[in-house]
């Protein structure tokens, strides 16, 4: 009983991280029709930004709650900034190029970020300890042990998901983003600043990576230069399961992927080394079964 709850909690944590990453993919795809594969490395970049912030906060003698706020803030801002720069400088100029060029571009940008961290971050090849800033310990509820930090992080992640959802669906900025996503040309003629809106949309999408990066560091207490790669693949597949372009679908996809992984670990412990492989096989089967995603209605390309 207690182990089931443990798996559940762990799965929820992973699902939240995956869902956040998937939202980013969904926003980029919705706005510009691109798979921005550097998203995972933007996440890594944010997490390392948070690590540097933690070091600075310790050096400046911040109290722990302020350090926590500072770390999360810097993670988010670092990701948002680099996301917006990539969008403005590298993605927008290629918007009329063949899709292969665009995918290669974002993939190479991701590689460049990853390699820069590995080469230029002090001791960057090795995993880095991430400070534990959340209250340790937990409480026992009818035999199930709940870690405080896990609960807090899951709650924070879900709160951020709702915040993004609110920005996109309820604000003027969100309206502009949705207009650009619907039809860039028309949005432009309606007086929306296309370039700026795209950059902001990419910044918001990249913030999700910053949050996910901070959550990852705080929960696992360890980050490394290549963690974004696998997270990008998982986030990308979660976004596809959800129908690319549908934020709720992306979140469902994230939790589904985490659920699959957890199921493999819990039910087939001998195969737990292959949990990603197995989960991805299931995802590919799902794509084959419903190419437009689980939630999306079947649309057809205009001819």
């Amino acid at each position: 009983m207690s182990s089931i709850a443990q798996y559940l909690l762990n799965g929820l944590m992973q699902g939240t991280i995956y869902g956040l990453v998937a939202i980013g993919f969904t926003i980029f795809f919705g706005v510009m029709n691109v798979i921005k594969f550097s998203h995972g490395d933007v996440l890594t970049f944010g997490a390392f930004g948070g690590l540097v912030a933690a070091w600075a906060a310790t050096a400046l003698g911040f109290p722990i709650w302020l350090e926590l706020v500072f770390v999360v803030l810097i993670s988010v801002m670092a990701s948002a900034a680099i996301g917006a720069i990539i969008a403005r400088g590298l993605v927008l100029p290629l918007k009329d190029a063949p899709p292969l060029n665009m995918l290669l571009m974002t993939m190479m940008v991701g590689t460049a970020i990853r390699e820069c961290i590995r080469l230029f971050f002090p001791n960057g090849t090795n995993p880095q300890r991430f400070p534990e800033l959340l209250p340790s310990g937990g409480f026992d509820l009818s035999g199930v042990y709940f870690r405080y930090d896990g609960l807090i992080l899951i709650a924070a992640g879900i709160a951020f998901i709702f915040a993004v959802q609110w920005i996109i669906n309820r604000t003027r900025l969100g309206l502009a983003i949705r207009a650009v996503a619907e039809d860039g040309e028309t949005a432009r003629t309606m007086g929306i600043n296309f370039t700026l809106t795209v950059a902001i949309a990419f910044a918001i999408g990249s913030m999700t990576a910053g949050v996910a990066g901070a959550l990852y560091g705080l929960y696992y207490s360890e980050i490394n230069y290549s963690m974004g790669l696998i997270l990008a693949i998982i986030g990308f597949s979660a976004a596809i399961i959800g129908g690319l372009g549908n934020i709720w679908g992306a979140i469902v996809g994230g939790y589904l992927f985490a659920g699959l992984q957890t199921a493999v670990v819990a039910l087939l412990p001998a195969l737990s080394d292959y949990k990603n492989v197995i989960a991805l096989i299931v995802v590919v089967a799902l794509i084959a079964w419903r190419p437009t995603g689980l939630l999306a209605e079947r649309g057809s390309e205009r001819v």
């Binding site: 209605e297 649309g299 057809s300 001819v303």
Partner: protein, 263 residues
């Protein structure tokens, strides 16, 4: 009744409906195309003409209804299977492979006739070369009917052609596969009045050469519809509102209302 008998209608659509979200793009549309005729398909913007072509050629799935091509039910077939039954088309928005040569683009229309076997393509290079030569000759002859200059540009990339030549190339691509029926979606889109007239003459000439091919044509220029078509079908909001000779159709109050938007 045997499939494809001589006097049977080559294309019969009955009760076709297509939904995009809440929008009924085709609403229980029934159209019968007679053998050897030029049928004009007209109607205001967004009335479902292109959608009709897309359903017939298998790009969109119909939510209800049935399409018979030469007596065979093709409603649920995929585009390449429908092509195999002798249907070809052009697209409203030009869909050439611009970086490929004029010849390559044309040959796409002849996919079904050309040998795609591995042994033939990789080993029997002599036979392939001979077939390429005869295909090039056939391509030149066809292009020359439209524009002798175009025939000389066989090995240039399609992107180097002007607007009208691109249109001609698309039409040739639909014809070179020797289809039994072709659908032309606004062949003159974006052309001046004179260019449109000229293109239409060329199309009609080629059609005669091909033994009175059956043609369904979407066209906005009414003068052309009057001159080129044997019969017209008028669509509005995905429904057929009128059918008959152009003169009769043009006089129909429902049609006038659809076009002038009279309330």
């Amino acid at each position: 009744m045997s499939a494809g008998s001589k006097n049977e209608s080559p294309l019969i659509a009955s009760g076709l409906s297509v939904k995009f979200g809440g929008l009924l793009a085709l609403n229980e549309l029934s159209i019968e195309v007679r053998r050897g005729e030029v049928l004009g398909l007209i109607g205001p913007n967004g009335s479902g003409k292109t959608t009709f072509f897309n359903v017939i050629s298998g790009i969109y799935a119909a939510s209800a209804g049935q399409v018979l091509l030469d007596g065979r039910d093709i409603t649920t077939l995929r585009p390449h299977q429908i092509a195999a039954h002798g249907l070809a088309r052009t697209f409203q928005r030009s869909r050439l492979c611009l970086s490929l040569s004029v010849f390559d683009n044309l040959m796409l229309g002849a996919v079904r006739r050309l040998n795609s076997g591995l042994w033939y393509n990789l080993v029997r290079r002599d036979r392939l070369a001979a077939d390429v030569r005869s295909a090039a000759k056939e391509a030149r002859d066809l292009l020359a009917i439209f524009n002798p200059d175009l025939a000389g540009k066989l090995w240039q990339p399609a992107i180097s052609l002007g607007m009208i030549d691109r249109r001609r190339l698309e039409i040739c691509r639909a014809l070179i596969g020797r289809p039994k029926i072709v659908l032309l979606d606004e062949p003159s889109a974006g052309m001046t009045h004179d260019e449109t007239n000229q293109l239409m003459n060329e199309i009609l000439e080629v059609r005669r050469n091909l033994g009175n091919l059956t043609v369904v044509m979407v066209e906005h220029e009414m003068g052309l519809i009057e001159r080129a078509t044997d019969r017209c079908v008028v669509l509005n909001y995905g429904k057929k509102i009128c059918e008959g000779k152009y003169a009769d159709v043009a006089a129909d109050p429902l049609v006038r209302e659809a076009y002038l938007g009279k309330s």
